[in-house]
Each structure stands twice: as C-alpha cells, then as structure tokens.
Amino acid sequence: MIREKLTLACAAATSPKMDLGHSKRTTGALLALIIGSSAVTGCIQVNAPEDAIVIELNINIRQEVIYRLAEDAGNTIDENADIF
C-alpha cells in the first residue's frame, strides 16, 4: 500500500515530460468532473428564453440588396398574379 503511493508520487515528480502528462491528467480530471456532474443532475435543463425568438431570416442578406430588388420583385408579383 505505502509502496504504491510512493511510486506514484515519485513518477509524477521526476518525469521530464511531466508538464505534458500533467496537462493531460488535468484534462482528464476536468472531463471526469463534467461527466460526473452531468451524471449527478441526470439531464441538462434548457430553459426557453422569455423574450420572443426573432427569426433572423438569412441574416447575410443586406437591406440595400432588398431595396435594389424591390421594384423588380413588385413587378414580378404583378405579372404572376395567379400565384401571389
């Protein structure tokens, strides 16, 4: 028992690649913590925001493009009155 403890402590302290090993271990510990905590709560709760969700439809489309196309689109609607 005691010997095992000592060996572990020695390896951690003297290894030249200790930093690497250490960070990996930290990541592992963190992962375990995350998994552990989610296991404790059972499930992740997502609460819906109280404000209305605004659908930003094609946010990349700029207003100036819409303004440029407006007249043409208006004519298109007029020309295709059966489907508009």
């Binding site: 209305a52 969700i53 605004v54 659908i55 439809l57 094609n58 489309i61 700029r62 207003q63 493009v65 819409i66 303004y67 440029r68 196309l69 407006a70 043409d72 689109a73 208006g74 298109t76 609607i77 007029d78 020309e79 295709n80 009155a81 059966d82 489907i83 508009f84």
Partner: protein, 131 residues
C-alpha cells in the same frame, strides 16, 4: 369623306386597344378560386421567405395546392433573381416583404417572430430590412 376615314381609323384603333386589353387580362391570370378562398379564410398565409405557408393543420388537398404554388413561385424567383444578378434567397425574401405588405385585411402573414398574424388595416409587422 375625310371625316369618315378618321372615324373609321379611330374605331379600328379603339377595337385594337380593346382586343389588346382583353389579351392582357387573359395573360395576367387571377388567383384560382380555391387559392383565393384559402387566403381569405386564413387557412394559408404569406411567409417572410416569399412562400405560402399553411396556418394550423391543413388538409392534404390544401398542402398540395400550397406546394404547387410555392414550386411555381420558386421557379419565378430563380429566373428573376438570375436576371437581376441576385441570389434566390435575396429575391424571395424581397418578394416576401412585398407580398406581406400587399396582404388584404383578414389575410394571414408571418411576423418576424415566426407567429401567424391576421392582417388589419394597420401596416403589417415585417422584417426590419423590408422596404
């Protein structure tokens, strides 16, 4: 003599204008009665993206009609977008802005939060980028 010729010419012109007018209305077909009824009753509405949507649970018949019209719209948008050097999405969103603006009171349209709204005499709730 000269007067009668003039009258004949003007008569002919009038007839031609009438005929042309008749052709124009024939080419610019109006909404199918089933489509017009579904719009008026609020079963379908104009979406922000330039296409029609079904408000609530629609019958399969209604779904077929809406998808048929939407396919036709898409074809028109694609053609016009290419001619205007724009993308399909840019063009259809613009058309959606205008189609919502042109809804009649009582008809349904989609507000920026995605909800269906009934058009009143007040201006519709639209995307902030709409002209």
């Amino acid at each position: 003599m000269k007067k009668s010729v003039l009258r004949n010419v003007s008569l002919a012109l009038g007839t031609a204008a009438l005929a042309l007018g008749g052709f124009a209305t024939a080419a610019q077909a109006q909404r199918d009665p089933a489509y017009a009824a579904a719009r008026a009753s609020g079963q379908i509405g104009e979406k922000m993206d330039g296409y029609l949507g079904i408000v609530g649970a629609g019958s399969s018949q209604l779904q077929a009609m809406v998808s048929d019209i939407n396919i036709k719209r898409r074809a028109v948008y694609a053609q016009k977008a290419q001619a205007a050097n724009a993308t399909l999405e840019e063009y259809s969103l613009t058309a959606g802005c205008l189609a919502i603006a042109r809804t009649a009171p009582g008809e349904k349209y989609q507000a920026p939060d995605g909800s269906w709204q009934t058009r009143t005499s007040a201006p519709p709730l639209r995307d902030s980028r709409c002209p």
